[in-house]
Symmetry: C3
Subunit: 472 residues, 3 copies
């Protein structure tokens, strides 16, 4: 029966001793901040705690109810030892090897940078104390979570180690502290676990930089074509358009380009496989890296599409728009001229909006299915159906939306200010290319060959064949 429960429930009769196990004793090496936080939490969860310290008599305040001893004495009193020491001071543990033999050592350390040392801290520890069972654990939690228990991004304790029993012991402690333990395999995974808390969206960097670059480029482009041109050519100050109108041109362009960049690497990979006649050769590194950040590209593109939606929907409440509409209506009323209703125009604009809405709807669906809990619940056939079939549908709808927006503007010379292309035209290049290439891959003869290659078939040239027989 743990301390915690005792304090809550008033036991009126003495409990049967068999049913109330004596609280387990755990050992912590290190009386620094981490050791103190962890000790506090262990005490609260019903453990007894003993600290191992270099200077047991002058190590600063420790949680009430804990003991402090020399490292050797502390190690011998418990079967599980938390190592809350910086890696730089690990070396003294070598001298404790006899006392630590057979103990479970929990390495909770992190480094300040990646690749600071040739081997992971936990592997170094295992090398210093070969007779102990080192388990890497708890290092992915924040000190706050170690002190206060699980919260949002601190629910899961990843652990790894070579001894299944040692991992089981650590798992039970983690569970008792309120965390969910996730086994990550043998101690060779320690480096990965040590890198985890250091990372800050590594797989988002490239897509974010790309998005930033595209946004800046196109923003400058449209500012020059709209605001600067308007000022130079007609002397009008329309700089206020920089807040809403121009971002609402840039965001959909960036979104469409990034969406097509999601699907371009897959198409390139298919052509590469066709050209090589095998799927067993590795793709070039740049293609591999590109394919691995497709999800991030797609989600960023969805973000920009959402901004485009919001920027579009506030159009009618903008002062500028209301002013222009009112001015038009007044001048119509004055001239007593009634403009003719243009059915083609109504068809075109309504189709344009409808494509945009449907495209955005399917896109949102793609976004929702890429939430971890949703994609985990799907079979990969379902997942690839959504990401491939519905993905291409999204690309088609959004591209068609842009073509309808353009309509016959490309015939009108006034759109080519300073001999530059309107920005929307530039955004159409990439998606059009992707869709044409994709259609080529769907041709029966191409599709058949590709399917065979993906099922393991290899095109063999006679000379190539002889080489292979030498290799295997």
């Amino acid at each position: 029966m743990s301390k915690e429960v005792k304090s809550e429930s008033v036991s009126l009769c003495p409990l049967d001793t068999a049913a109330a196990p004596v609280p387990e004793l755990l050992c912590i090496f290190g009386t620094g901040d981490l050791g103190r936080s962890l000790g506090q939490r262990l005490l609260q969860s019903g453990y007894r705690v003993v600290y191992g310290s270099r200077r047991p008599h002058s190590c600063g305040p420790l949680p009430q109810g804990t003991q402090v001893m020399s490292h050797a004495a502390a190690a011998q009193s418990a079967s599980l030892v938390f190592i809350c020491i910086h890696r730089e001071h690990y070396d003294f543990l070598e001298t404790l090897a006899p006392q630590l033999k057979g103990k479970v050592l929990v390495d909770v350390s992190n480094n300040l940078k990646k690749n600071l040392y040739p081997e992971a801290n936990a592997e170094y520890l295992q090398r210093l104390v070969p007779g102990a069972h080192v388990v890497k654990a708890f290092n992915t939690l924040s000190a706050w979570a170690l002190q206060n228990g699980p919260s949002d991004a601190n629910r899961q304790v990843y652990l790894c180690g070579n001894s299944a029993d040692a991992k089981q012991a650590v798992t039970e402690t983690a569970t008792k502290l309120g965390f969910t333990a996730l086994d990550r395999g043998s101690l060779s995974a320690a480096r990965e676990l040590e890198d985890f808390p250091l990372q800050l969206f590594p797989e988002w960097r490239l897509p974010l930089r790309l998005a930033l670059g595209l946004n800046i480029t196109f923003y400058v482009y449209v500012v020059v074509r709209d605001v600067v041109y308007g000022y130079v050519d007609q002397g009008k100050d329309i700089s206020f358009r920089m807040m809403v109108s121009l971002p609402n041109k840039v965001f959909p362009i960036v979104s469409l380009i990034m969406l097509s960049l999601c699907y371009l690497p897959g198409v390139i990979a298919a052509f590469l496989q066709l050209y090589r006649g095998t799927k067993y050769k590795r793709f070039p590194d740049w293609l591999d890296r590109w394919m691995l950040c497709r999800k991030q590209l797609g989600l960023l593109a969805l973000g920009f599409a959402s901004l485009h939606v919001l920027y579009t929907l506030i159009i009618p409440i903008r002062y500028y728009v209301r002013f222009r509409i009112a001015a038009n209506t007044v001048s119509e009323a004055k001239l007593n001229k009634t403009s003719e209703f243009d059915t083609t125009m109504a068809w075109r604009t309504d189709s344009y909006y409808a494509m945009g809405i449907l495209g955005y709807g399917v896109y949102l669906l793609l976004g929702i299915t890429s939430l971890p809990s949703v994609s985990n619940a799907l079979s990969w056939r379902e997942f690839s159906f959504i990401q491939s079939k519905l993905g291409y549908l999204t690309l088609f709808l959004c591209t068609f939306h842009t073509y309808l927006y353009g309509w016959n503007k490309f015939l009108n010379p006034s759109y080519y200010k300073w001999y530059t292309l309107p920005a929307y035209m530039l955004s159409l290049v990439l998606p059009s290319v992707v869709m044409v290439l994709r259609l080529l891959l769907l041709l029966p003869c191409v599709d058949r060959t590709l399917t065979r290659i993906r099922q393991g078939w290899e095109r063999t040239d006679p000379e190539d064949d002889s080489k292979k027989s030498l290799l295997t």
Copy 2:
């Protein structure tokens, strides 16, 4: 120490051999595409791999660093054997029974169709080699994931088998490959695991078909009543309304009907229990199936409601709407007539919009709580509170929104074109019925009886009672 880590970190000093276990040797039967992919991945994760082949000397290129032997020799060298062979060729394994005795056989096979064979592949394998421990695993992953490691819908390895030790061994391998293993129980779950990768949204089929049917029906209905009628009766071409205006009539109607179809089966079930006087009789099959797809019905309805929101919000930027507003204003200005401000109208339309927004807001909340990770974090009391209480609130708000939309239109004969009802009226039938039935169930006397029945009480007729005593 695994190969992978060695290649990354440059070990400057020789490692203690005790700390560096010799890589485990695994065996793969079958040198086809799947076998090659799996072997590659196992090698990369630090295993040694040996292939078993019918023709060990002519089996095509295999990953560098692997060996290939006869089946018998390969089986004896490892304690865990992956069976990467099509089920049709399993029968030869019967002759290997002596060599496979006590080994863990991992069945990774899938069939091309459901119910192709009377028993699951893994159960067939167990029957052929009764002395081995068959574990069904890895079959739910794509070949791509087997070769390249976990990705979105390929993180979890489901496994089942009769031997706990065998499952533990496979779990460790899966973990080392980077996957999360999920135990699905004894080998009798193998069929379920084999069907899983074949499924393509089975529980979404019925709701999707229903949504499609309703959409087409109502779309045709409103096209006839609006566009065709307008053309026939007044000779006007308003066909452009087919892109935005008419979908924006159809989507909310389909959404409201599907939302009420979510709550209708629960009400029917309650009345059935009241009528039967017991909860221990099974519901008819159609009702069971209906109740099982309520979540899908609700999510599709939410999708159509979202489309309705977007279609509504773009109304003021449509060319047609702007044209009409301008034309009205111009004619008002010309006639110098100022229309009176109608406070009732302002109240009615604002209430109508407010109900719609609030209804959509609660509806979104329902959708969010049905995300797997959110619903897992709720207790079932919380979940049923949201899905039932907030669900009926959504239904009420959306129905009220539609009634306010209709207002007194039902009094105006011009709305009954060609003696047909306006579409919105048709959409009100089902939700109104559901809410009336639900209110009946809330009557104290009905509610009391229903609660007792759901707590296990049974209404017993004298004759019925005598029958039961014979049965038990």
Copy 3:
């Protein structure tokens, strides 16, 4: 081989008996509703079931295929016993202690209220039968889920107990029934598990009450300032504004205040740590509780911000707005006056909208990352980056949005109706305070001290120091 599979697949040849284990026999104490439901489900999953009953010959209808015996006889026939009895009747189990020795007892009971008894039901059971291995499990599932298998909020079986083997046995049964078992540690966690199904959003209560209070207060405030003032002062009936215009004033105000209430406690905590010179003193209770409901505050604020967005986007389709715009245009046309285009106004309003949209966009991102599955996939460094850096960005953008909305209104006396401040000004107080305090904390000298304190450093007064040495 389980019953279920047998009925599905037609086995043509007799199965090897070694491969087909005899179905396991489980025992259920109690023939009430819960016992019946559970028994049915166990039967369907391939177990044999025996009931223990006080009156084995008159205990009402039980699932076909089960046996019923006296408690003692039933207990001896199985190694795992489900206790489907109310806690009030547990006492008779004491007399069965000899028969239950070494058995696994699964306590599935729940209480009607929290804290009804001094100890958890499962702990009471363990005390009554000290020789048995009590496991608390299945109590978090609804009776419906026990009868029909896993569904949305009923996928996970939480269990706890002092014996690892007993928990393993229960885990296997749960898995076979289709659930995912989650180990919650020793039996001292039983009370937590027993409280779980009773809770109804406990951590949402305070934020919900706060939101309700704020909404009502500000709604009354703006109704008085707008509608009542308009009626009293100018005799106009603008009560229709209560449906859309006024909620659209209240929601953003409440949202902004609640968002700043998310960040205020963190700032207060930092100043408290600075003042105390240590991080090892507990925060006052009110601050702890406040910090624990920050997530809920933020999500509610996001909800109100979303309502504000929707209410704003429908502005141009409102009857009142269209009427006013048309009236303005008509009067302009009549007077033949053309108002000048105001570039400052265009800049200001466009900036105002842009800030709002960007703020809402970042806010949505915060909301998405607080979904359990997303936050689980983040390292805590990533999570705290998003929640802190992007959180303050959201607060800044939304506050700036409000300042731009206000602009120079504060100079205009007509806005101070009845000597009251416009509501938007009131909403600016708290976020402005939070941001100023936060900026103070970012001053290099303050930041340095705080960082040191958070790394475990303590400011020590000489007298304080002597006290400490006495304590430890």
